[in-house]
Symmetry: C2
Subunit: 358 residues, 2 copies
């Protein structure tokens, strides 16, 4: 009996993907072994690797002058790798739009001057802060943003456009492949795969080729993007099974009509939930209307006890992991690509019934 | 149809482990979700985490004053993390007994003075080089060794015993849990899990508590052992499925009689293969007899063309991935814990038949 799992990540995966992984577990494609057991230098895995990379290139329309890298350590490792590789001037600008954006800029301060262009921290990150790209220092190596703020349920509707060719760097961990983006608007995009792409244990880094190869001599080899670019992300043993699972998820996404197709479904799913919240007299959405995320919907009931009761009773009804992050409080429904519309409808129906008991 | 897979890593996993993973893929233990989909902060995964850690502590008899950490990036990341965390004096001693030992010392040179205590590089690493622990400099922060050399098929039979409390640091990637070790002989043990413990994508680090917490301020947060120790290896999302699979392998290992039990089987398996090689008039073992590995058995036929024919014909007979590493040449049979005795017997039988065709 599968449940609807509203976890912010790791999160739901498409059931057909899991079923296929189970079928192929002991014998992948007639090789007589599991993908977990294969040499990463052998043909079967090399094909899996190529397939995963090609699907990502196709689905995101990634230009040839961008590398696609697979790196272990998740987004938190990127908080260090980005300044270590890209902060060639010793300075960078950051927009502080959420907890992960904040952690990223704190980590970057180890390596150079961090200019906080704007922050909504004082308002519990309930919105994307106003910023003026003219305030970016001339010597900034890049402007860093978080396109979707998982904890607070906000996202950029329009992207900042830095002047003078300063590259835009984006943490897209919680909304990659959920809506169309033009990769050319970015110098670098990265995402931990555990929300919209696969199981935890890897980040995808999409980076313009001219931005790499400039890391200092004391940067660890495994933290240098050049190491990954030079070795097709296989300088050492890659997280092979995670790459395989990511490939299966990307195949599924292609069947859903690709990013454009899933985007329509995501808009529809989010609308169902926001429409309910906007008319509800007991539940209240937390994110500012203009910056609402399509992936993470945050809301509260009238008080903390009712929040707790809601989360507990929803779980019993098969609607799981709805508790909000401790920093934001209340509830959060994460409705990534793999959450079916039926899950969102079941949640709204449950909320409508629960509302009568408040 | 499963094959016997002699891959050096990723490598064979116990079939019952894979079968269980397949069964639990879509619904773990009645949770209604895959382990891949679970919040790492929720109870079901926390129990998986605790179970994996406890099993490792039990199987290796790890004392309480050692941390058990799960770190992404594999052994190559440890090549940097070890000097960044432990080289507090600005110097360390390394024994250059193989390719990975060499890569480790090259990486360490970014961070301080590396004294090469001994090297067998000039002899294609066919043995563990002679060393004298009295040659270790007084200011060395640690002595670094690789207990088993995957590419060349050698291992330390006796461990170096550095004086003056200088800690021994060991890369045990290719023989952890294959034979009994006393953790107290080491300051730090680490191993990429993809040979004897699980699928690729994680290293286990077992480190004496007093050795950590001394990294410099400019060390990336994700490269500081203290970050992992302070957060039960969950500062950020851990490689959750890899931890789960590792736990399943450790449960299986416990059923095999633990490390002592599997060691007896490993000795028996290696003996079958070395006995055959020692009496063969056509095949010749590559590693020096006194330093033979129990995990990786390297050998050659009379010439390179016959080597290639052997590898190709063996593969057709279901004995796969026997090609040696390009640095060592010839053949390599990796016979980790999960390789059944039947696989080694099948290989020896095939070699006996093949020998007649040379």
């Amino acid at each position: 009996m599968r449940v609807y799992n509203f976890s912010p990540g790791p999160s739901m995966l498409p059931l057909p993907v899991l079923e296929r992984a189970a079928r192929e577990m002991c014998d992948y494609n007639g090789t007589g072994m599991s993908v977990m057991e294969m040499s990463h230098r052998g043909k079967p895995f090399m094909q899996i690797m190529e397939n995963t990379q090609n699907l990502l290139r196709e689905l995101m329309n990634i230009p040839e002058d961008y590398e696609v890298l697979f790196v272990q350590g998740g987004a938190s490792m990127q908080f260090a790798m980005i300044p270590l590789n890209l902060m060639t001037t010793g300075a960078a600008a950051y927009i502080d739009s959420g907890n992960f954006a904040h952690n990223a800029l704190v980590e970057a301060q180890r390596y150079g001057r961090v200019d906080v262009l704007a922050s909504s921290k004082a308002d519990t990150y309930a919105y994307i802060p106003d910023y003026d790209v003219n305030d970016i220092a001339d010597d900034a190596s890049y402007l860093y943003i978080t396109t979707n703020n998982t904890i607070f349920g906000t996202r950029y509707i329009e992207l900042p456009k830095p002047k003078n060719g300063i590259p835009l760097v984006a943490d897209m961990s919680s909304n990659i492949l959920s809506q169309p983006y033009d990769v050319r608007d970015f110098g670098l995009i990265y995402a931990g795969v555990q929300k919209n792409m696969g199981p935890a244990g890897m980040a995808v880094v999409i980076v313009r080729k001219d931005l790499i190869g400039k890391a200092g001599a004391n940067v660890p080899k495994m933290l240098n993007f050049q190491t990954y670019a030079d070795n097709n992300s296989m300088f050492n043993t890659p997280p092979a099974y995670t790459i395989y699972m990511t490939g299966l998820v990307l195949e599924w996404l292609k069947e859903q009509g690709g990013v454009e197709g899933i985007y329509q479904k995501n808009v529809e799913k989010a609308q169902i939930l926001y429409d309910f919240l906007d008319q509800s007299e007991k539940f209240r959405p937390l994110a500012k209307k203009e910056h609402r995320s399509l992936m993470n919907v945050t809301f509260v009931s009238p008080d903390a006890e009712t929040d707790a009761r809601f989360v507990a009773e929803a779980a019993k009804a098969g609607l799981q992991t709805l508790k909000g992050h401790r920093i934001a409080g209340g509830m959060r429904a994460s409705i990534y690509n793999a959450m079916p519309k039926e899950g969102v409808e079941a949640l709204v129906n449950f909320m409508a019934d629960f509302e009568k008991t408040i």
